[in-house]
């Protein structure tokens, strides 16, 4: 039986899985929209912007909760390089979750595009029009999206490795429901 404090709290787990869905959708919408000229281009763009801002808000809430409640300790027998990788990847996720939307917002600002969330609801520009800033932010937004997706693949691989191979409770710490209540899995 896993102790309560060995798991992320329910709000943390809810935010994790909600944001996982949002971020995956966001990355697929992003690479899809920039590779088509079909009418769905406009639909995808119109989802991409408000969803990005939603992710930014959720990430800031999540960061505050993480700072307040922390995270369960990793297993003591986990090799040091894996512990380091786990910790660094969490830092990278927070940086990407917060800065990708800001970079996108800044990129649109630097191109003097109106930043439409929905209907007549706009966000103000956060940067002046600038060719060089637009180019810098466009490149950052584009390449970091692939870094983000690669990090997610690595994260999923590691989570499954913990769940299926090591069976060390790390996956359970973030699982929507604990699969280990009561009994050890049959093996």
């Amino acid at each position: 039986m896993i102790e309560r404090h060995q798991r992320f709290n329910p709000l943390q787990r809810l935010l994790h899985w909600l944001m996982a869905a949002c971020i995956l959708a966001m990355l697929f919408i992003g690479v899809g929209m920039v590779s088509t000229i079909m009418p769905k281009y406009l639909t995808l763009v119109s989802i991409h912007k408000p969803l990005g801002i939603a992710i930014l808000v959720l990430a800031l809430v999540r960061l505050a909760i993480r700072l307040r409640y922390g995270a369960p300790a990793l297993p003591v027998d986990l090799p040091e390089p894996m512990k380091l990788a786990a910790q660094l990847s969490h830092y990278a996720f927070y940086v990407l979750m917060i800065f990708m939307p800001l970079i996108g917002w800044g990129m649109l600002s630097a191109a003097a595009y109106p930043i439409v969330l929905f209907g007549g609801v706009h966000l103000p520009p956060i940067l002046p029009q600038s060719d060089s800033l637009h180019t810098l932010l466009w490149n950052a937004h584009f390449y970091l999206a692939f870094v983000f997706f690669a990090l997610i693949l690595l994260h999923v691989a590691a989570a499954l490795f913990h769940a299926l191979v090591r069976r060390d409770g790390v996956f359970d710490a973030m699982a929507p429901v604990s699969s280990h209540d009561g009994a050890a899995p049959a093996q």
Binding site: V31, I37, M38, P114, S130, H134
Partner: protein
Amino acid sequence: MAQPRQSSMGSIFGSLVLIAVIIGGGAAAFAYTAGWFTPQRLTPDKMVDALTPPTGVPLGHRRNHAKGICFTGMFEANGAGSALSYAQVFTRGQYPALGRFNLATADPNAPDATVRVRGMGLEISTPDGQEWRSAMIDPPFFPVSTPQAFYELLLASASKDPNAMKTFAAAYPEIAAFGAWAKSAPWTGSYAEERFNSLNSFILTDNSGAEHAVRWSLLPTAQPVSVSPDDLAKRGPDFLEQEITERVRGGPQRWTLAVTIANPGDPTADPSKAWPEDRRTIEVGTLTVQQIQAERDGPCRDVNFDPTVLPSGIRTSDDPFPAARSSAYAKSYDRRTAESSHYPRTATNAKP
């Protein structure tokens, strides 16, 4: 503390295979969405590449309508458009406008008399913080029915195959009407004498929520005077820019914005089909061009006249062109801003 539980070698191998399949599948789905497995997909990159003129990539310039000149002025709405759309731009009042007279060529140095199609980019801002951007041209209908056909037209025009255009015209017969227009329509000696048409249809939503499919045109108040292309060629390579600069210096130039409402069944999705002449048309205001500025340091230089930048109360219709134009214009903007060191600004750091 949960203890790691022992697993058999076989089950570990099975788990690792499962993980590899899941990760590989995720990566493949991402690559598919990005178009890496579908090279035939028409992407904004392909469209913009196809616009490259024989003179080479116009570094730092717009990839189409590359030659142009900026203007600033005012749009004065008469209030009549409020019956069609709740957008603030249609309520009676004056709203700042900026824009760009341009030529439909990818060569920024093309002599003015060599370019058949002339255009206007326009941006009107309203106090509610919304913008209406539009990019219009002077033919009464578009050469082709679909963005794919436009792409094929670009490829055929650039092709070295002498039969390329014939093959294209056989596949896309709508081009014939445009060819006839290009041959027979009169040329004028001034941007001020041109009628600029949206060609694409849009949906206006009024206060009651009712929707109206429309196209719009800017009708010149200046009387068009027909001039032969041969005579225009004698006026110099930049006569249009010189003429409009002098003309506006002498007094503001005006266009009437006329909104035409589709009847049920009119082809809203095909800009190559003009609507019948008798369709209800409402004059909603007047565009006044008050000042002309050279593009290189002018206010239009950094504006992408994306026709999908619309205020609430105007939206895109089933016409596939605005989406295609938006994606291609964005690509053009991305490229030219990345090449801005090649653009011949007269003052450096004119903008932050």
